[in-house]
């Protein structure tokens, strides 16, 4: 094949990939439903919890990042197990819980970890600053204490799914 055509094919292929990416990104952005809350899902049962309507309490603790640096945080939010109970999502029969952030980052927990006193929280405020989603609306971060690092913390929680 002449070199000129090979160059054209290369350019066309790259252009196709770029156009496809832009189209899919547009579909992703247009299809996004900003319910403004957190979706709780268990099988066919689904409910959206309004972050602003949650009973919030102050809690604090130390967070360890990937570099081993320890920082102290004062949060305001709610215990995850209480949120699930109040929404009618009981962990009986549930084995794992997956929390997904708005950037599609996921963290998985066993139901025993969810039940552990003072371990897993949803924080709406961190050191006095309100947690916000990317679009600026109020959000909540998942905070997990008693871990070696903050790998299972989830930013701007979008959904919580319970699996039996």
């Amino acid at each position: 094949m002449p070199c000129k055509w090979r160059k054209h094919i290369r350019i066309l292929l790259i252009a196709f990939i770029l156009i496809l990416t832009v189209v899919l990104a547009a579909v992703r952005l247009m299809g996004r439903e900003d319910a403004g809350g957190i979706r709780l899902i268990q099988g066919s049962k689904e409910k959206t919890v309004d972050i602003g309507g949650l009973d919030q309490t102050d809690f604090s603790g130390e967070m360890v990042n990937g570099l081993g640096e320890v920082t102290r945080h004062d949060f305001r939010g709610a215990f995850l197990l209480d949120i699930l109970h109040d929404a009618g999502f009981l962990p009986e029969g549930v084995k794992t819980v997956t929390v997904t952030g708005e950037d599609a980052y996921k963290a998985e927990f066993t139901v025993e970890e969810i039940r552990e006193e003072g371990r897993i929280w949803l924080a709406m405020e961190d050191n006095g600053s309100q947690v916000k989603r990317l679009n600026g609306s109020p959000g909540a971060n998942l905070i997990v204490f008693f871990e070696d690092n903050s790998r299972r913390n989830v930013r701007a929680v979008e959904s919580i799914e319970l699996y039996e």
Binding site: R10, I17, R28, G31, G66, D103, K106, L134
Partner: protein
């Protein structure tokens, strides 16, 4: 296996360290875009790291050196606490694109630009696929976007890698 010279090993060490640092520098910038379309960050920056593996592989021409460079980067990330959500899997996710580049290098390319574009894109896409299988488990639209972001990153990285190689050819 061919005995590598000291300057080959030096080249490998440079490519490993520069590639590792480049990803750290580029990631905050690319995260602006990935946060906007709400996909996990990382895949859009990986190409800028992998392009240095491609430079090293093209320069040294020994099968396995890409895998070794990727493994060294993974160990660096693990020991420096920069493994992110991947944890100990980071050693595998960094080695795999190196292996892909080694496999692409088995084919003799007449035009080095084609090697850099293909190897970098394939390496980045392979890294994205593996990260999805091991960690993210995205599906459908998100997965397609994640993979395409990796391929685009690989194309940009490959193009840059070819340019950088041309300028550094005499020094390397």
């Amino acid at each position: 296996m061919k005995t590598t010279k000291l300057n080959d090993l030096t080249c490998m060490a440079l490519c490993i360290s520069i590639g590792f640092v480049t990803k750290r520098i580029v990631t905050p910038v690319t995260n602006i875009l990935t946060d906007f379309i709400r996909i996990p960050g990382g895949s859009l920056a990986t190409g800028f790291s992998i392009m240095f593996l491609c430079i090293g592989v093209y320069r040294i021409r020994v099968f396995g050196c890409g895998t070794m460079m990727g493994l060294a980067q993974g160990c660096l990330a693990l020991f420096l606490g920069r493994s992110g959500p991947q944890g100990v899997w980071v050693v595998i996710t960094y080695s795999f694109p190196g292996l892909v580049i080694d496999l692409v290098n088995r084919y003799k390319f007449k035009d080095p630009d084609n090697f850099f574009l293909l190897s970098c894109a394939a390496g980045t896409a392979g890294s994205a696929v593996l990260a999805n299988i091991l960690i993210f488990r995205l599906s459908s639209l998100l997965l397609a976007l994640w993979l395409l972001a990796g391929v685009i990153s690989g194309i940009i990285g490959g193009w840059l890698g070819g340019r950088v190689y041309r300028y550094l050819k005499r020094a390397l």
